[in-house]
């Protein structure tokens, strides 16, 4: 492995993993979807309260590694109060960033999420970082109650 550990485990990541924000369940009619990585056992439930096409609240609960929890926590902060279309754009820009290290579009401001720029150098961990996002998209679509990385 050639990646720099300090690039992966930034202070922001460690802080969010130890003190995840919006770490709670939302009751109905909020939508929810589960994300599961059978390889490592990471398991999250992402909740999203959608009203008038706006993500009024985003929250999550579950167990996972530092990268998985920090990514979920930062996601809730970045997407709360955003329109559904913007959330999808951010999710896609974040996926590109995490898998390639590149910021695809200057139109999408990833903000603090850029702490994951170094993740692409750790291919075995990319699924950890994207798990919460896959669950969020499933919750928004209402397409699946559960998404799995495998």
């Amino acid at each position: 492995m050639s990646g720099n550990l300090r690039d992966l485990y930034r202070d922001v990541v460690l802080d969010h993993s130890k003190h995840p924000r919006h770490f709670r369940a939302l009751s109905e009619p909020a939508r929810k979807a589960e994300g599961y990585n059978p390889l490592c056992g990471d398991q999250l439930t992402v909740y999203v309260d959608l009203s008038d096409d706006v993500l009024a609240a985003v929250a999550f609960q579950g167990v996972g590694c530092a990268l998985c929890l920090a990514s979920a926590s930062l996601m809730t902060e970045r997407l709360r109060g955003r329109r559904r279309g913007e959330a999808a754009e951010v999710a896609e820009a974040f996926r590109v960033l995490v898998t390639t290290g590149l910021q695809a579009s200057s139109a999408v401001d990833l903000g603090e999420l850029t702490v994951f720029t170094g993740a692409h150098e750790f291919p075995s961990r990319i699924k950890c970082v994207l798990l919460a996002w896959q669950a969020l998209l499933a919750a928004l679509d209402g397409s699946a109650a559960s998404v799995s990385t495998e």
Partner: protein, 424 residues
């Protein structure tokens, strides 16, 4: 005795001193261990998952494909006869290796998983009826759990699970209580893959036989670390894989007592497992061929034979003694690491260390270790119910083999301190 030549890899030294493995010399026989991970030398500590291969095994497979390869048990030509002979010699080596009584009792399969599935399907159809019970333990690998779950569901039988204590040892008293007139089979690991616990298999078998219950032992984690004598243990089935014994993947062994194997119906069907075929009736070949349908992993068998030769040339007594010494050293070094909690502290243990570090997720620990060139396994080790028993989602597992040294344990210990620092 003094004049006896030292086995390869064993330093001769003076006659009064106990002979020891010459590990540096052994390491040189494993080409993969020379590589670096980034700038760091590879420290391979995932041997419970799979072991690396010595030059002797790699060469034997290449030589077989270069010189002797053809299909077996069919051709009347010389090349096929040579290939058949090589394949059957491998079977005989396996038989001697585990001290089985007869070559017919050695079925060559893909690995431990296939061996267990074979018994679950075939023995299940032969003996298991609605209301019957199968007994496993709480420390089973999924491969010695899920096949029995499926067999029980299909046959209307019930799966019973013998618990483990806080040290990760089988509760023999509870195990014995699970043996009832409805128990049709006991299936238990010889050595736990997740914790390293060595189970008292003679006791386990004796108590089951006391109630006329046959026993299958999952020997995947045992054969590379202990002397296994299936007749002394008196188990009815014994399963293991070549790839955890310094041999190739895709080849493994099911030992079964001939009387049971003879009575059992075929598992897979097709070529080689038949005697005569007509559209209205097929008669099956004798054992072991009845259970070896289709063209097998011929070169894999040859490689397994070479691995057994290699392993025996080093000597199981030396290997076992060395690994126990290494385990004691590693246990001591890890006990110095703050906030490290070991999972599994059985009195009888193979060279496996399973642990959690602080409240750090095992995958984060493994990523930091990988950055130091150290390959360990992190996760549930295909033993999710066991992880639940110990209240953890998973562990970090360092598992050792004959080519590991104290120096690599020191690298592991340094890596763990670095994990505490990076993930503080």
């Amino acid at each position: 005795m003094d004049s006896a030549p030292s086995p390869p890899g064993v330093a001769a030294g003076d006659a009064s001193a106990p002979r020891r493995l010459d590990v540096e010399r052994l390491r040189a026989e494993f080409p993969i261990l020379r590589q670096r991970v980034g700038e760091k030398p590879l420290v391979y500590l995932d041997n419970a998952s799979t072991t690396q291969k010595p030059r002797a095994v790699i060469d034997a497979i290449a030589r077989f494909y270069s010189d002797d390869y053809a299909n077996i048990h069919r051709g009347v030509y010389a090349l096929s006869e040579r290939a058949t002979q090589a394949y059957e010699e491998a079977r005989a080596k396996v038989r001697r290796f585990i001290n089985a009584g007869d070559d017919r009792e050695i079925i060559l399969v893909r690995g431990t998983t296939e061996a267990i599935n074979l018994v679950a399907h075939s023995f299940g159809r032969l003996r298991v009826e609605p209301g019957d019970e199968i007994v496993i333990s709480a420390m089973e690998h999924h491969s010695n759990l899920v096949p029995w779950q499926i067999a029980c569901a299909e046959r209307g039988a019930v799966l019973r699970v013998a618990p483990v204590n806080d040290d990760g040892e089988l509760r023999l008293d509870m195990y014995e209580r699970l043996l009832t007139p409805r128990t049709r089979l006991v299936a238990i690991a010889h050595v736990s893959n997740a914790l390293g616990t060595i189970n008292p298999v003679r006791e386990i078998v004796a108590r089951a036989h006391g109630a006329n219950i046959p026993v299958l032992l999952d020997g995947a984690q045992a054969v590379a670390h202990l002397r296994v004598d299936v007749q002394a243990i008196d188990c009815d089935f014994y399963a293991f894989s070549g790839h955890k014994l310094y041999g190739p993947s895709g080849i493994g062994v099911l030992y079964g007592k001939a009387a049971l194997l003879d009575a059992m119906p075929p598992y897979q069907s097709g070529g080689d497992m038949i005697r005569t075929v007509a559209f209205d009736k097929t008669s099956y070949n004798r054992i072991p061929y009845k259970f070896e349908a289709g063209t097998p992993h011929i070169a894999g068998a040859v490689g397994l034979g070479a691995a057994i030769d290699y392993f025996q040339s080093v000597g199981i007594e030396y290997i076992a003694a060395y690994e126990q010494e290494l385990l004691a050293y590693a246990t001591a070094r890890l006990s110095e690491i703050p906030r490290l909690r070991r999972i599994g502290s059985a009195r009888q243990k193979a060279c496996v260390l399973s642990f959690v570090l602080d409240n750090i997720h095992p995958h984060d620990v493994a990523t930091v270790l990988d950055n130091e060139g150290v390959a360990v396994r992190a996760g549930h080790h295909c033993a999710q119910p066991l992880m639940e028993r110990f209240g953890v989602a998973g562990t970090v597992r360092a598992s050792m083999a004959l080519y590991n040294t104290r120096e690599v344990i020191d690298v592991l210990a340094r890596g763990l301190r670095r994990a505490l620092e990076v993930l503080r």
